[in-house]
Point group: C2
Chain length 326, copies 2
DNA sequence: TAGCTAAGTGACAACGTTGTCAGTTTCCCG
DNA sequence: CGGGAAACTGACAACGTTGTCACTTAGCTA
């Protein structure tokens, strides 16, 4: 910057002004621009954010960037922030609580202006000091544990209830449910929606029809086999999340069956299966925009009490019979 | 840091030493550690990299992070770098040359220590000033245009030739090829492999059997229809990349056909189609490790001439008949 | 114990910016 | 043409670290 200033015959502060688009005389501007082009000068963002205290950068912490919903969310958040002049840095925790804390450290050390978190299932009280020190944080998908922040949630319960009602309307009374772990918000809510629908239709709840988070394809197959071996086996299936849906579709394949099936969470190619997979889709666009909106407000100094925004899901019916096979 | 030093009763330079794991007296260490914990101090990475000139951060520029190969590569690169104490920041250009240049700017402004680039199809001479100024850059997947750097490449040509030979061995003489654009390295190489195999088997090349980068499902369907309407239509198909495979599978579905089909690039759920999709898989692990290896060498001051590393592909046969239907 | 080495510590400058504030120029008005 | 406001400019400190180098202390050897 000093070199540029010398080249242009102005003070280096004037170069700073040009770089930041502050008003300068037309002539100074031209000479500085020319000098910048000539010397190939590039502003050092690190130094700027050190001095100013603002980095114009936001962090996004997800658990598995390859999942369709999270990837889509990341893209929408990035675009929305870019429009406001902010960069986005994404980190993927792979569901490990330790990685979540580690990335949080790193985000703070880089003095980001804000943070959007899709929390893993651990608790987040370790974020309290920064939150109270004025760092802007918004949670998405699940609320924080032991912490009070803005949250953007999907209507998990209603979405899952709708999916269940759809199968019940097809005449099913025995519905196998492949569930997320029940130790976290989304797991509990989606399971709750399943149960709500059963209760409303006076269908009895049978815990043998619920498999909690088979971690692999093989485990999903074993869970499926166990259900099929029941005296009164399920005639249709629900999945509580897309990774489960993929494992389950593999298991169906192994057993050469194509039962009526609905999954919470859309995923790529879901429409190309035979039969295509009907899904409950979370509105990543609205959720992402809501999160950015809340975050920007906080970053502008809003100190009102934390808010909760709930975004409805979409039911995407892709056809395929939902009638029992028998 | 000054506060921590006061709390511990040492000079702030000693705190710096503790934070960086340099040798200090046992007693100083304990008192500084205690002060750090008490005050919740966090080292400012930006300031550190400003002073030291090194950021211990590497950038990865891809064109579409949601593609299976690129995502996998990113994960491997991240793990390999983390092991050496480097952070990774990923940016996705969506194949837009402008975004590539823009991110490159941003990478430089953040004074990253190194950069791994999966280039879009534009040329990269704009990187020359930094490269000559000593910034470490490694290209992956495609070589740079108008620039000399280390490159890690897959054996595109051999992979595609193998896939084509596989179909020829099944008795096919008319093979439809859905190709990448032919204005870039991977497009040309894979097309070259297809042609090599035809030539070797004395099968004549018919350009009506080649569709260059249908951009949408609908366009893929139109291209497919055009081929099927030929007097001598194709009896098997090849895809030059996974996005094409997905469009083509949709098109097959529309026409209710399941012809023998092989795709370059593996993708998630390829094994769950009916019939499953046989693929040529790029070895993202070896390619990622090779890239990191080259980059670290450059970052340690290696100034030998640029090298080219070629990594073989794997042919993953997933079954399904490859015999002509007729 | 003098003399030397090794280990540890501290003072201070420097990294490349932006904020502050005082100074200078330009422009407009009466 | 004088006066005052507005526009612009520049000197300098500060952001939170690390590099350099000189200094102090401890430990060893002769």
């Amino acid at each position: 910057m000093i070199d540029v200033a010398r080249e242009a015959g102005v003070a280096f502060k004037t170069v700073s002004r040009v770089v930041n688009g502050e008003p300068v005389r037309r002539e100074s501007l031209e000479r500085v621009d020319a000098a910048i082009a000539k010397l190939g000068y590039r502003r050092n963002i690190g130094a700027a954010s050190l001095r100013s205290g603002r980095s114009r950068t936001v962090g996004l912490l997800v658990y598995e960037i390859s999942e369709s919903f999270q990837l889509s969310l990341a893209q929408i958040v990035e675009a929305a922030l870019a429009e406001k002049g902010y960069r986005l840095v994404v980190a993927s925790t792979m569901g490990l609580g330790e990685r979540e804390a580690e990335f949080f450290e790193s985000f703070c050390a880089n003095n980001f202006d804000g943070l959007i978190v899709l929390p893993s299932t651990v608790e987040q009280s370790y974020m309290r000091p920064e939150l109270e020190a004025g760092v802007s944080i918004v949670f998405v998908d699940r609320p924080p544990k032991n912490l009070e922040t803005d949250v953007v949630l999907a209507e998990n319960r209603e979405g899952m209830r709708h999916a269940t009602e759809y199968l019940i309307a097809g005449g099913h009374r025995r519905i196998g449910f492949f569930s997320l772990k029940l130790d976290n918000y989304t797991g509990v809510e989606r399971h709750g929606g399943y149960r709500d629908a059963l209760d409303a239709a006076a269908v009895s709840y049978d815990e043998r029809l619920v498999s909690e988070w088979p971690e692999t394809r093989q485990q999903a197959l074993e869970a499926l086999d166990a259900m099929l071996a029941l005296p009164s086996p399920p005639t249709a299936f629900l999945s509580g999340a897309s990774p489960l849906a993929k494992r389950l579709l593999w298991a169906f394949r192994q057993r050469k069956i194509t039962p009526p099936f609905v999954s919470y969470d859309d995923f790529e190619l879901a429409d190309l299966f035979e039969p295509p997979v009907t899904v409950v889709s979370q509105d990543s666009r609205r959720m992402g925009l809501a999160a950015v909106d809340l975050l920007l407000q906080r970053m502008q100094g809003d100190t009102t009490p934390p808010r909760v925004v709930r975004i409805p899901t979409h039911f995407i019916e892709r056809g395929g019979s939902i009638m029992p096979e028998a």
